[in-house]
Amino acid sequence: MRRGVLFALWVAFSLPAACAHAGAAPSWSFEGPFGVFERSALQRGFRLYVRECSDCAALSGLRYGDLESLGFNADEIALIARELEDIPAAEAATLSVRPVPGPKAGRLPDSLGRIFRTRGSDAVFETITEMSDFESADAADVTAFVVWSEDPHLEARKKTGLAILFYLLMTMTVIAVLGRRFQTLSEQ
């Protein structure tokens, strides 16, 4: 039975990867049960996005304060705020990020975040490569940033999930071992 559970776990985690079609999209660091964002890719993606994106709808929920979890420290955030919008450092933490249109933006649609929520990260990557002048590596970083901005607790969620799975498997083992005594009794 336990072997069956482990097998089911393995299948559940490996199936989506096996089913993914072999397209142009790169393999994402944030996929899989142990997947995390690469901070450097997020920071690059953020800088590219705020400078080049023609529309800002996807970022309506993002505040300068949130950039801390991208790996920027307070001074860097203040610098970014001043650079982008000329906002005083003291006010930056509570204000929404408003990217400006840039030369590479092309015909990017309203909201890349919405594309991620309805069609996934590969669709975001394909949209960026098809409809803007970003190179493939840049598009991948922008995609990672868009995914982060829509699912900022992805890492915490997976960590919590793994902890709960570990706890449940331990509990199951303890109950199964302790319960074996009664199982044999009831079969007599």
Partner: protein, 457 residues
């Protein structure tokens, strides 16, 4: 259950309370010492209870942050996901918990049907359970609308439109439920109150469900159970251990989905704000309501006089199985054959030529669909009087077992047809599913009562 002699507990505080309110005695007798047959599976009822608690508790936390307003509802849910501390956790537990609660309820009900758990004297246990299912359907539907996404908002429009099929009060009921002509703040307020309040009615019904079961378990029911083992074991630790293992296994599956694939059971269309001006290509409920939605769409024809007469002939063919009267194969076959021909004539006539079939409706297509939806629950409520076979355990009845597989296939067919666009092949699949669903309850079960081995005659 209530008027019991209290046990003598050693702990003075427990004893003091128990002499005045025998809660400890009741718990001990029913969940510790209770003598239970070995073969009972205590897994799924425990799983349903735990999932219900997970969904209710996470829902209470969500309710603190939710705003039932057309301008703020979608943003409120987004804020819960992003900004509220541990908001992502309560959101995923609630959204995916509903799916797993329905999964557990369906397995629990399926096992109840298979093992004859609804048979005398446990009819009320089953009936209260079906009422809980109905309330859960309304609760999950209102919950689907609350985030005010595209599919949820449009589902509210489509489903409340089906309410107008109810004669006389339908139009008024639709206005009362929506709070106006369109979906807006008034709708969200109403759905929020329903979604918040009715779960507590469900808790009350679950209590009655368990209470009735406890009363009936002690009674002799006179049924013959092929697998029955007269040896009894105390509830704790035998069933508590078995149940906990099943529960852990189920929660592992739940955790994998809720924490690693949190969007798996949530419709992508509901992650886009509601837009009353643009109807989405696909309007469908969550997977667990698809069979009900499939039924609403499968019965897309009105009842004209030919179809009505064919239903009467079907009833006449089946009459001996309900009245236990004399059964003549030739007569029944003639009636059923005539009914089938008449139904085909009425149905094809209606779909191929509008007049004179189309103007002669006794019941409009919309009302027939709504009646079929209500009928799905009605036949479930009547199940204890439809399956009266004296052998309780369905696994000891090969024909019944095959019928259960057919019944499950009908539910899948209805679900698939509900998920797919309303085009010819999928609607036809749903119609076959709908026919098998009702035939299973109203024809196959009564026939098996008479002819399957182990029966009375």
């Amino acid at each position: 259950m209530i008027d019991m002699e209290p046990d003598r507990f050693k702990n003075p505080l427990v004893r003091w309370i128990d002499e005045r309110l025998p809660a400890f005695s009741i718990f001990r007798r029913h969940y510790i010492d209770h003598p239970t047959p070995r073969y009972f599976n205590k897994g799924w009822n425990l799983i349903v209870s735990v999932m219900l608690m997970i969904v209710i508790v996470s829902g209470l936390f969500l309710a603190v942050h939710y705003v039932p307003h057309e301008d703020h509802a979608f943003e409120a849910v987004e804020r819960i996901r992003r900004d509220v501390r541990w908001g992502w956790l309560i959101h995923t537990l609630h959204a995916n918990g509903a799916s797993f609660l329905f999964l557990a309820m369906y397995v629990h009900m399926g096992r109840g049907m298979l093992y004859g758990a609804f048979k005398t004297p446990r009819e009320l246990v089953w009936i209260v359970g079906v009422l809980v299912l109905f309330l859960m359907v309304t609760i999950s539907f209102t919950g689907y609308v609350l985030p005010f996404g595209q599919t949820g908002g449009w589902a509210a429009i489509v489903i409340t439109n089906a309410l107008t099929a109810i004669p006389f009060v339908g139009e008024g009921l639709r206005l009362a439920v929506l709070g106006g002509d369109g979906v807006g703040t008034a709708t969200l307020m109403r759905f929020y109150v329903w979604h918040f309040a009715v779960p507590f009615l469900v808790l009350l019904l679950v209590f009655l469900h368990i209470w009735s079961l406890r009363v009936c378990l002690g009674k002799k029911d006179g049924s013959r159970n092929h697998y029955e083992d007269p040896r009894l074991v105390p509830f704790h630790p035998y069933h508590t251990i078995k149940g906990s293992l099943w529960l852990c296994g189920f929660l592992i599956a739940f955790t994998i989905v809720a924490f690693f694939f949190p969007d798996l059971t949530v419709s992508p269309g509901n992650r886009v704000p509601f837009d009353p001006l643009h109807m989405p290509d696909r309007i469908a409920p969550e997977w667990y309501l698809l069979p009900f939605y499939g039924m609403l769409r499968a019965v897309n024809f009105g009842i004209n006089p030919y179809i009505a007469l064919s239903l009467v002939l079907f009833a006449a063919a089946l009459r001996p199985f309900y009245t236990r009267g004399a059964f003549r194969a030739g007569r029944a076959a003639g009636l059923a054959g005539g009914a089938t021909l008449l139904f085909a004539f009425g149905y094809l006539g209606q779909t191929l030529f509008a007049a004179p079939f189309g103007v002669l409706f006794l019941v409009s297509a919309k009302s027939a669909g709504a009646a079929a939806f209500a009928g799905m629950f009605a036949v479930l409520l009547l199940l204890p009087w439809l399956d009266r076979h004296p052998v309780r355990n369905g696994r000891a009845r090969p024909w019944f077992g095959a019928g259960m597989v057919l019944f499950a296939a009908a539910l899948v067919a209805l679900g698939v047809s509900g998920a797919m666009p309303a085009t010819a092949p999928w609607v036809a699949l749903g119609q076959v599913g709908a026919a098998v669903y009702f035939l299973w309850f109203l024809a196959i079960l009564p026939v098996l009562n008479r002819f399957e081995r182990g029966g009375r005659e």
